[in-house]
Structure formats: C-alpha cells, structure tokens
Amino acid sequence: MSEGRGMRRPFGIETQPPEVSWDARVWSDLGTPPSDDHHRGGGDGGPERRDRLPIPNAQLGLWIFLGTVTMLFAGFTSAYLVRQAGPDWQPLPRPPILWVNTSALLASSVLLEIGRRRPLALRRWVLGATLLGVLFLFGQLLAWRALRAQGIYLPTNPHSSFFYILTGVHGAHVVGGVIALLSVLALAWRDGSGERVLRRLALCAVYWHFVGGLWLYLLVVLFVA
C-alpha cells in the first residue's frame, strides 16, 4: 500500500539511503542466496550491510543443519555406549560387503570433487557420483540381507538393533543427498553448468562429504570401538 512512499520517521527526518530493491527468495530459498547481493555490490543492503557473517545464507543454513544431524547421531552414540555396557550385548559379525559400500561412498565423494573442478564435464562426473551413491544404498540393503540370512534380525540383540537402525537412519540421509544431487543434475541438464549449478553443487558437496564422513564414523562406532 505504501508503494514508493518514503519512510515517515519520527522527528520528521527523511533519511535517503541508496536506492535498494530486494530480490525474491520466495520460490526457492536455495536458488538465490543473498551472497548475490553481497558480491554484486548492490541489492538488498548491498556493500554497506557490514553487519553479517561472510557466509551466504544457504551455506550458513546448511552448516547449522549439519550441526543438528551431528547432534542426532551424538544422541544415538550415547545411547549406543550406554546400551553396550548392558549384560546381553553380543558383538555382530561384520558383513564383508560393507567394505565395498564404504569404497563406493568415498569414491563418490572424489568424483563429485573432480566434477566441481571441471565445469565442462560436470554432468558426467556428478552422474557418476550419484550412481555410486545409489550403489552404496543398494549395498547396504545387501548387507541387511546377508545378516538376515544368518538369522540376525532387528530384535536379535542390541548390537544388531543398533546396526539396522543406524544404517537405516544414515541411509535415509544418503537418500536425501541422492535426491539433492539429482536435482542439481536436472538443473545442469537444463541450464548447462552456470554459476547457479556450481553454487548448488557446492552445497550438495558439503552435505555429501558430511554423509560420507558420518558413515566412516558409524563404522568405527559399530565395529571398532
């Protein structure tokens, strides 16, 4: 309703900061992070907005989200350690296929990094990384099947319960990562490998490496510690 009207302030002061307009971050929060303004030197607040962190919103949000995921698994870990001290704990045989899965997930992270550094061949590398991620998920299912074949089910003993649940929750996070990678791929197929694709890919990469690191951590918790 006050389109174009200068702000009425008390004291009758009309301040005239430089003309600014604001970009819509309405349809996709991740699509146009305010870092645009930041680097463009204009836009919403522009260069004079000195009171902010040197990190774009999307990245900051992602890091905070990873903090919550870390706390989620910290909760699982503390439950695991307490339960491990119980009287009925029986160590689980490690399904050998886990090594294959682990290698697939780590290789996937490597492919992603190569892809980010080669914008021209980006789609191929990212596709490879995504497929390896899917392979990891498939391998995890095979690990479950191998255990089931040995008669080890979810309620069999606390270690097996934790194995199924932790791999399941981790797998759900990997599925999220795969979906994110697929959305970047879709964007890359439509838009080529412009700045927007690279920016989104950078966010995906942070998440993807986190999920990979998380898997290594879970391996240690489940079978080494």
Binding site: R9, P34, L154
Partner: protein, 590 residues
C-alpha cells in the same frame, strides 16, 4: 539466471491462498503460529480445568461431563486412564504447542525481521514449510484423544515402560504412537524454524544493526534457537529407538522380566533410565528455549513504560550465553531420585546452582531497570512486571529443587508442579500476554482494550499465585505428584480443603483467560485505531508502517545508528530516540 533482483517480489501475492494461507511472509506466518497456539491453549486449558475438577472433588459425579466424554468420564466419574491422558496432553500441548508456538515461533517470526530491519526471514519458503509441518502435528495430537484407548498417558516426558509397552495402559497403544509422530513433526518444524532464526539473525541485519544493538528479545531468540537445535536431535534419536521398542521388538529402554497379564514380555537388558537421560538432555534446555524469549519480552517491554534504558545490556547478553552453555549440562537434576551415583548428583547440583547466577543477574537487571523509572502502568507493563514477580518466586523454589539433598524430599510432590508452573507456565504466559497487548497495535493496527486488559492481568496474577504458590505448600505437606485421587490417603486428609481451594482458584484463572479472548477478538474489529508508534518506543518495528506491508520497509531499508534503548537521552527532542535517528540529531552513545 536469478541474479537479477526481481521486481515482482515487492508485490504482495494477490490470491487469497498465497496471501493468507500458504504465505511466505513472516508476518502472516507469525500470526498463523500465534493463532494456532491460541487454539491449542484453549484445549490445554480445558484439560487443566478437568484435572483440577478431579483433584478438587475426587469422588464427585458430573453427569453433564459424562455426556461430553462418554469413555473418560463414564457414569460421570473420571476414570484413572483418562486422568493420565489429561495430564500428559496438558503438558505436551502447553509446552510444545502453546508456549513454543506462540512465544518462540509466533512472536519470533513476526518480530524478528521487523526488529532487525530485514524484509523477511532468510528462508521464507522454509518458514512456510515449518508452519505447515506443525499444523498436522497439532491435528495428530488432538486426534489422539479420539482413537482406541485415548491419548498418550505416559506423561509429557513419555517415560518407558508406560510409553514403550503397548499394552501398559490404554493410552500406551495408538495414542502413544500418535504422540511420537506428532512430536516428530513438531521437532522437524522447530528445526526448520530455528535454523531460519539463527541464519536470519546472523545474516539479515540491516545496516548499522550490530549484534550489540539487537533488542534483547532477539538475543534471547538466538540463544533459544541454538539451544533447541542442539537439544532436540538427541530426543529425536531417543524417539526413534522408542518406536522400535514399541513396534520392532528391540530392547533399548525395556528391561527383562516385565509382565503384562499372564505374559512375560520378550524384552531384556534395556534401561528405562537411558530414556530419561536422553529425554532430559532435551528437556532441560527446552525450558530455557521457552523462558529465555519470555524474559526477552519482559526486558523489551520495560523501557517503553519506564522511559529509561534497560539496565545492564551487556551483562544480560553474557548471562544469556552462560545460561545457554550451562543449561546443556544440568539435565541430571531432573533425575536425582533415579538412584544416580551421589557424586554424579553433586555434579548436576553444582551445575544447577551455577546456572542460578546468570539467571539472578538477568533478574537483577530487570529489577534494576525499574530504578528511578517514570513507571506508566499500562497493560503490557503490568504483564512485564508480573512475569518478573513470577520469575523471582519460581526461581526461589528452584534453589531448593536444584540441590539434590532437598530435591529428593520434594521431587515427587506438588512443590515441583508449583515451581514448574511459575517458570514455564507463569513467566512465559505473562510474557505471551504482555507481548500480545504490546504488539497488537503493530500487528492489526488497533489497540486492545485497556480496562479489560487490566482486569485480565489482575485476575490472572492473583489466581496464579493462589493456585501455584499454594501448590508449593501442598508439596511441602507431602502431596505427591501424578496421583489420580488423594481420598484414599489418611495423611492427606488435612489438605483436602486446600485442594478444593486450588481448584476454585484454577477456575478463576481459566475464566480470566476468556476475558483475554473477548478482548482480542473485539479489539481486532472494534478496537481504537492505533498510531504508528503508540507506545513511543525506539525499536525498529515501530518505524515500519502499521500494519507493516509485504516486504516491511517500502523502497528503502532503515539504517540503524544506535542501540535500542535510547530513552530519556539528555538533550534529545523527545524522551525516546528511535534506532534510526542519525547522530547529527541526537548524540550516539552506543
């Protein structure tokens, strides 16, 4: 590419659905949260009234209620399972779906961008998603009353085995599953909201709005959001494990040797205490998630009505940080009676006593802000003062409960109920009301009725003390928590009348809230038109038009030149100097 700043964003979405229902505007979302919380408060309040009806007159028959609740009150007498469901859902709804939604998400969403001079939250779409995740959560919680066996009955703390064994009590069946599902959605929503809050506060401040120029309410939101983000995920982990105990046959929280009917349950080796630890690792920070923003509202409501700056801004900020850190390591004081190692208990007791120091500093700053004030006792000011009184009273009881030695005596009595309600029921509720009276003119462009507001305050304030201070003494007299009726205990015969008194006071408290509802909706349509800055306050939201348009700030963003509490600055033309006034007009001190 989306690098071009879009011009359309300035325009409000035109369709009704995009404007009022699936809106990404933080103000609409804030009001949506607020109204949702109000609806849930109505339900939670009715549950409280039913609880008091039972505790005040345990043997009485209520034929009318038998018609309303054919299962829970069959024959007009409340059955014990229904009572358990009532206290469980009263706690759950009030804590998570009223105070969290109204105070943190409601006021938070509405005020955050306005007070820091932003156009919206950092992630508007995520913000909408967070609201529309909590709506099904509310629906699921409410629906759980109507399923087979009724709502969850294991307390808002959901202790196993009641919560983990489906056949334990009727509410342990589908009701408990729905409870877990509702909480999962709530946590998902809160995580989205908290993430948005932190990012917005850190990254969306306008020019000149340094961290040390933030209104204290924003500081409390920041600390509360961080606490929530750190504390909720471990509860999520625990809830996942609980679900598998219930439906997957695992034994995380269930020990061996549990019998139900003639049958031994197959579980073995689990530990119910493990749940308690994981729960309270959330549960304790959660109370700070609620009370810190309440204190923030009280801190921000004082200056406009004392016409002087808040006392000890920096120290308050540091104290908030100290509370934030300490609150993560004191959860064990909820478990002193669980048979923990006395040395561990000592650790938690010392931590708890340590947290009273920053809390007392904030309390002192609140009181010191009144020193030399030209106090204007408008309704928001009354509520702010009331919440300080509750904070003091509740805090005093907290000292006894934080110490293992005295807590072991008091833990399972009404002393805890009284203390808890002063802090999480009282301080937060008064802040919620005070904030509503204060920001209503900005939200809706009309003033709330002052006379009704004052009646609402005094009835609430006096009745609240009558209910919950009395409960402290009931607790000292040995009245245990969680009991369905006290008529069977000889030693509790002397306090029976006192219980009836508490119930009557509780009904007064309940009826007083109807005055608020009437005032709210009457003022919405018939209230006096509000000026842009009716309280002559300094913070940024009062510089925006009333009610603020989509995008908040017209063509240009405000620039901030000073801290938010420049009241009665010597030499200034007015006794309040808004944050946007440049140094050329009034000298900047901080």
């Amino acid at each position: 590419m989306a690098i071009e700043p879009s011009v359309h964003a300035h325009e409000e979405p035109r369709s009704f659905w995009r404007r009022y229902i699936f809106s990404t505007d933080h103000k609409v979302i804030g009001i949506q949260y607020f109204l949702t919380a109000m609806g849930m408060a109505l339900v939670g309040g009715i549950l409280a009234m039913l609880i008091r009806l039972q505790l005040g007159w345990p043997e009485a028959k209520w034929p009318l209620l038998a018609k309303l609740f054919p299962r829970g009150m069959s024959g007009g007498v409340m059955n014990p399972d229904f009572y358990l469901a009532l206290i469980t859902m009263h706690g759950t709804l009030m804590i998570f779906f009223v105070i969290s939604l109204g105070l943190v998400s409601g006021f938070g969403n509405y005020l955050l961008p306005l007070q820091i001079g932003a156009r919206d939250m950092a992630f508007p779409f995520l913000n909408m998603l967070s609201y529309w995740t909590v709506v099904p959560a509310c629906a699921i919680m409410l629906a759980s009353f109507f399923v087979e066996g009724g709502a969850a009955a294991s307390g808002w703390t959901a202790y196993p085995p009641l919560s983990a064994v489906e056949q334990a009590v009727p509410g342990s069946g589908l009701g408990q599953t729905l409870w877990i599902l509702g909480m999962a959605l709530f946590i998902a929503s809160f995580t989205m909201g908290g993430l948005n809050f932190v990012t917005t506060i850190l990254n969306e401040r306008t020019r000149g709005m340094s961290m040390m120029r933030l209104p204290l309410f924003i500081w409390t939101l920041l600390i509360a959001s961080i606490l929530g983000l750190l504390a909720f995920p471990p509860l999520t982990a625990a809830a996942i494990l609980l679900l598998f105990d219930r439906h997957g046959g695992t034994s995380f929280f269930l020990p061996s040797g549990l019998y139900f009917g003639e049958r031994v349950l197959p579980h073995s080796g689990g530990s119910p205490l493990l749940w308690q630890h994981l729960f309270w690792f959330l549960g304790h920070p959660e109370v700070y998630v609620l009370i810190l923003p309440a204190l923030g509202v009280a801190l921000d409501l004082l200056p406009p009505f004392t016409r002087k700056p808040i006392f000890g801004y920096r120290l308050t900020v540091y104290s908030l940080f100290a509370i934030g850190v300490l609150s993560m390591i004191v959860w064990g004081h909820h478990m002193f009676v669980s048979g923990m190692n006395p040395y561990v208990g000592e650790f938690f007791a010392i931590g708890t006593l340590a947290i009273t120091i920053p809390s007392a500093i904030i309390g002192f700053n609140l009181i010191a802000s009144l020193w030399g004030a030209r106090l204007q006792l408008r309704t928001p000011a009354l509520f702010a003062l009331g919440s300080i009184a509750f904070f003091g009273t509740g805090g005093l009881g907290g000292i006894f409960l934080g110490n293992a030695t005295s807590d072991i005596q008091l833990h399972d009595t009404y002393f805890v109920v009284g203390h808890f309600h002063f802090m999480i029921g009282g301080v937060t509720l008064l802040a919620l009301f005070g904030g509503t009276y204060y920001w209503f003119p900005k939200m809706f462009g009309r003033m709330m009725n002052e006379r009704l507001g004052k009646i609402h305050f005094w009835l609430t304030f006096v009745a609240f003390y009558a209910v919950f201070l009395t409960q402290h003494f009931l607790g000292l007299g040995g009245m245990p928590r969680r009991y369905y009726a006290f008529s069977k205990f000889e030693f509790l015969a002397p306090i029976r009348d006192l219980n009836a008194f508490v119930s009557v006071a509780a009904f007064v408290l309940g009826v007083a809230q109807l005055i608020f509802l009437v005032n709210f909706f009457w003022s919405l349509f018939r209230g006096a038109r509000a000026e842009e800055n009716p309280w002559r306050a300094t913070t940024l939201e009062w510089v925006a038009p009333t009610p603020p348009p989509h995008g908040n700030w017209g063509e240009t963003l405000s620039e901030v030149h000073r801290w938010p509490y420049d009241y009665s600055v010597p030499g200034a033309p007015e006794d309040f100097t808004p944050q946007t006034v440049p140094p050329s007009v009034v000298e900047v001190t901080r």
